[in-house]
């Protein structure tokens, strides 16, 4: 039984058992991750009728996503897992979008694109065969007109489903595919300006 949390876009929390999404709570609000995260975790557990102690692992959406919100979900996933003594399974958030497409029957090459703000986008490419959706490149960050793989089917996602994130984690586990990224996928350096030569205050 997985608890899955993603805040790479809005906030989404789900309880997933095997292939089944037992409960999912989501909001597309990208400004209130810290406010809603607690009630959504609590609500998703209640909806599924699963106590915290019934969770075997916590799936964390590692992004890519805008920093401030992304961190709330990862911090919550890690703290929840620590609190009940179970592992965290870190999953690339775009994997959830690719899985949703795959489950809907899409096959072939796919490019998942999400908003990175500041007139940039995050992307990941996938190959969808009958076995699974496999990430083939990315995640990356670029300007919209510089996206790679223009020939691929493109999906612009505004929301990442924690249910699909949990199912992706389950599929990776079942197929023996290790999770590649264990740290938050910021893909951007912090905005810092190195102090230059000090400016004079007197003329």
């Amino acid at each position: 039984m997985f608890l899955a949390i993603d805040t790479s876009a809005g906030t989404s929390v789900a309880v997933v058992e095997g292939e089944l999404v037992l409960s999912e709570r989501s909001t597309e609000d990208t400004m209130r991750h810290a406010e809603v995260i607690g009630d959504m975790i609590s609500g998703a557990l209640d909806d599924a009728g699963v106590p915290a102690s019934g969770i075997d692992a916590v799936v964390a959406g590692m992004g890519p996503g805008p920093f401030t919100g992304l961190r709330v979900g990862i911090a919550a996933a890690r703290a929840f897992a620590w609190g009940i003594g179970v592992p965290v399974i870190p999953v690339v958030s775009h994997d959830a979008v690719a899985l949703e497409e795959w489950a809907a029957g899409t096959r072939g090459d796919l490019l998942v694109v999400t908003d990175a703000r500041r007139r940039e986008v995050y992307w990941s490419s996938y190959g969808l065969d009958d076995r699974m959706p496999a990430r083939t490149d990315g995640p990356g960050l670029c300007k919209p007109d510089e996206l790679p793989y223009p020939e691929f089917l493109r999906v612009d996602a505004t929301q990442v489903s924690a249910g699909d994130l949990g199912r992706a984690a389950r599929m990776h586990l079942d197929l023996g595919i290790p999770e590649e990224f264990t740290e938050a996928l910021y893909l951007r350096s912090p905005d810092v300006t190195m102090p230059g030569a000090r400016k004079r205050v007197s003329q």
Binding site: L45, T68, V72, A77, P190, V201
Partner: protein
């Protein structure tokens, strides 16, 4: 809720600036105080970079939680409640603690108390053996804040008397250190080079200390003009080809800061007839602040309290201590809907307390 002995066991989480702090208390007894600081990562930028601090919090959170439990020598099941800083502070940094605390609360079923960082600084004192009497004046000074409080009741009545209208005092130390070619953080560097310097060598301006400020800004602080005055003095000396008397500049600057801080703090004690002053925040590490505070306290008949430095700089134990006081006073837990409030006023000691 009260533990078997000495009050509730509370785990406190603090992420308002550049220290990831987790502390554990049992009532007024300190069990653990673990701090992971990202200060070294900020050094090359000359000040705290919010995004760098927030990233460091995320990486440090779980190891710091575990280290605090290990230091306390207890299991998570022995914790009665969780407390977390809701504000004020850097919002991206605060959100890491808020997200972790909420998830931990749901995971463990332990009640959650969202508390005020500044009041937490005052709360640190309850962990001292002979803790504070109320009412008291509290002067809280760090790189992030410079606030003068009137605390009538730690869990019920805290009033902001004054605060900085521009730079925090700690920031002024950082900026003047840069003027003198010294590294970050500036406080200890200024202290180091001021040794042997004459604090009366140069008279630097004292902000908001004129008669005209006595009403509107009676307890407020301003350090921006002082910082500029020091820079201008150093430039003029450099232009004239003089060697910069670094020890005298540092000692005189420090004296100006200390003078303003303590004049206003002791003025508040006198005005309100409260013969008690508590100092908190990282600037308490400054030897001259402590020295002058002790002199003036003795002269004015004020009881001076300075908690140990490890409880003065930002830490989780003070947040846990405030949480324990709230519980003991019968406050109900916070709901799960509060956020990170970068400008949380001190009057909000606890955020989002659940209604009966």
């Amino acid at each position: 809720m009260t533990g078997e002995r000495g009050g509730p066991v509370v785990l406190g989480i603090e992420t308002s600036c550049d220290e990831t702090g987790v502390g554990i208390v049992r009532g007024q007894t300190l069990l653990a105080n673990v701090i992971a600081s990202s200060m070294d990562e900020h050094a090359r930028y000359g000040g705290v970079v919010p995004e760098v601090a927030a990233r460091a919090h995320l990486e440090a959170m779980n190891p710091t939680l575990q280290a605090a439990l290990d230091e306390a020598g207890i299991g998570l099941d022995e914790i009665d409640a969780i407390a977390v800083t809701s504000g004020p502070g850097l919002s991206g940094a605060l959100m890491v603690g808020v997200g972790a605390a909420k998830a931990l609360s749901v995971a463990t079923g332990k009640p959650l108390y969202a508390v005020n960082h500044l009041v937490g600084h005052v709360g640190a004192d309850v962990l001292a053996a002979d803790s504070l009497e109320y009412p008291t004046i509290a002067l809280l000074v760090s790189g992030g804040h410079t606030s003068l409080l009137l605390v009538r009741d730690l869990v019920g009545d805290v009033e902001l008397l004054g605060e900085t209208i521009d730079d925090a005092a700690g920031e002024a130390f950082d900026k003047v250190a840069r003027v003198l070619g010294l590294p970050y953080p500036g406080g200890p560097q200024i202290d180091r080079v001021a040794v042997g310097g004459d604090p009366k060598a140069i008279h630097f301006p004292r902000g908001l200390m004129h008669a005209k400020d006595a009403e509107k800004h009676r307890y407020d602080f301003s350090f921006s003009g002082l910082k500029t005055a020091v820079a201008r003095w150093v430039e003029r000396a450099g232009d004239a080809g003089d060697e910069i008397p670094v020890a005298d500049v540092a000692a005189s600057f420090r004296e100006a800061v200390v003078d303003v801080l303590l004049t206003k703090a002791f003025r508040a004690c006198a005005d309100h007839g409260i013969p008690r002053l508590l100092l908190g925040g990282g600037v308490v590490a400054n030897a001259r602040v402590r020295e002058v505070a002790a002199e003036r306290a003795a002269a004015q008949g004020v009881t001076l309290r300075i908690p140990p430095l490890s409880l003065c700089t930002d830490n989780g134990a003070m947040i846990a201590a405030l949480g324990a006081q709230l519980i003991t006073a019968g406050h109900r837990p916070s709901g799960l809907g509060f956020g990170a409030d970068s400008t949380l006023p001190v009057t909000e000691i606890q955020v989002d307390e659940r209604p009966f």
